[in-house]
């Protein structure tokens, strides 16, 4: 299941857990949980396009000049890419 979700993530541009769930014939909630597990296992990572993503927006020195609603993206890590190559 994890590999299937990771493979789906490698092929899409926008995250839609409902579409992934439909394709894999499972529930959205389970897909969401698996995505969180992929984060924990460091197969994927996310960022909010921030210059200082290890600092909360409220304490960031650039908050007055930055976007107020960061856009979140997910990318596949090297560990994830290695796994995808094996699939």
């Amino acid at each position: 299941m994890l590999k299937d979700v990771l493979k789906e993530l490698s092929e899409i541009r926008v995250l839609s857990t409902s579409l992934i769930a439909k394709k894999l014939n499972t529930s959205e909630a389970l897909v969401e949980e698996i995505i969180q597990q992929l984060y924990r296992m460091e197969y994927i990572k996310n960022d909010e396009g921030c210059a200082t993503s290890d600092v909360k927006c409220s304490s960031c020195a650039y908050k007055s000049m930055c976007t107020s609603t960061p856009i979140k993206t997910i990318s596949i890590t090297d560990k994830g890419k290695t796994l995808l190559k094996k699939l």
Partner: protein
Amino acid sequence: MNTIALVGNPNSGKTTLFNALTGSNQHVGNWPGVTVEKKEGKFKYKGNQYNVVDLPGTYSLGAYSEDEVVARDYILKGNPDIVINVVDATNIERNLYLTTQLMEMGVKVIIALNMMDEAKQKNIEINLDKLSKELGVPIIPTVAAKSQGLDLLIDKSIDSIKKEKYSNKSFSYGKDIDSEINEIEKILDNLDLQYPKKWIAVKLLEGDKEIYSLLSKKASQPIKDRLIDIEEKSSEYELEIVDKRYEFIGNIVNQSIKKPSEERETVTDKIDKIVTHKYLGIPIFALIMFLVFQLTFVIGQDLLGGYVADAIESMGEFVVSLLENINSPEWIISFLSEGIFGGVGAVFEFVPLIMVLYFFLGILEDTGYMARAAYIMDGFMRRLGLHGKSFISMIIGFGCNVPGIMSTRTLDNKKDRMIALLINPFMSCGARLPIYLVFIAAFFPSHGGIVLFTLYALGIIMALIMGKIFSKTLFKGESSHFIMELPPYRLPIFKYVLKDMWSKVWDFLHRAGTIIFFVVSILWVLSVLPFGVEPYSQESILGRIGTILSPIFIPAGFGTWQATVSLFAGIAAKEAVVAILGMVYAGVSEGTALVSAIQNVFTPLTAVSFMVMVLLYTPCAAVIGTVKHETKSIKWAAFMAIYPFVMGWILSVIVYQVGSLLGF
């Protein structure tokens, strides 16, 4: 006294349950050696006292975080008499992962299926008997927030404590892994370990660093060698084990839980069908941005415009007359009237327009539309061979190019990062706005929206063209893949939009009051020296510097020393362009507004070519410094100073020359 440990996901209601059981009879400290909070309490039930430990909320019991290690160490070494696993009934799939790991530990577990009231509201039907049978543990429905189900929970917990054996079900990880587990258990047979051997075997196969470290200290060399073999294959085993857990959870959920159908098209989906359409997406984005700029002028200029300008003019005249009445030296009057009120004041006049623009951009961000804009542009940019994530840093660059450039750090691929970094300054930052607004007010007062839209669009087009050129020349290679999360649309929360708008405007005012003040002060001195020359004339030091450099801009149509010095002052800070123009062309004491002065010196065509130069030329010193810092290379910082200047010059010359040929 029996001890009960509470474990569960964050937000499952675990702490609510803890508080409901213990009331005020609790103690908060830290787990030894770590910064993780430890909560313990006591309660009395049917004449007996019980100890309760509220373990840190975790999603699993691996070694991914300090919280997880603390929780699992307590469960295995702290010897609680029973573990109550608090599970959120509205989100069972997520919560059961932890449950499967508790089952592997071989401890006595009872599940408090919490938030049953919310599950009922969401029409989630749970077959408790089936779920209990599949998991092999008792399940008690609770609503901890209302203290419902707690008596039954405690009764069942006491029953479980009294039982000799736990009844957790174990499950198979597949033939290969089960066989590995059996083999490892045999290897560990003679070792004195505090943890169940089967659990250790599973952890070793998962590559758990904590367990490897523990065994390395206790095991003999042959066992250590075997551990190395296992560790090498652990990433594959880990995946299989985790997959089996989810397969188990998936099966249980299918059999025991019924949720309302998820096949509903939300409002967000309906809007996105149009807004992110393959062909309509970009035109819709362009239209929305045009409307934003148009509204900015209607509200910011037509309705609110003039108030600030009048206020600054009145304030300046008041200060000048006050100083004249007390016979102040002429140079002080000149500095304040032409330098500060004429220069810095010229920047402040456009605050209403800037406020309105930031307000509308804030609404677009807060509703979630800007994420769609990034998605639409991502698709377009990928077709050009550019990394779509660059557009996210470009959106940030519309506010200020400094965080825009810094945000390129999130691009892992060096090629993508360098291209995004080098094209970011073509995003017209907030500091350039006053410059455009002055020239629009002078020559295009009825077409402000379209002029501003055209300038921003030109910046984006130039960024894409240069990005394409860089990707084919300096930075060849494949772009990396990424997925965007589009948040659901929501109505903007005006409190936050206004707060954000004010934060940006305040930053603008702060810069005007500090950096611009400093730049204007220095240039004012240069514009009145040497002594004896007419202030702000070509014979001043500033005038002479400008005269030497101005021939560069003759082909672009604005080869005057005043325009030249203002452009070079803009390299310190872009707002300084307007401040310097205000200082050299107008002064409060002369009663000549900057806009009128510009109308006498520029033409509509040269105004356009000047604005194109401002849009594209060398970014401010802060941006150049940021490039140096991010690339750790003076070469790239110098490149960033020079190539936009060249691009800006080329474009502005083309605009002027072609415009002249066409008779404008």
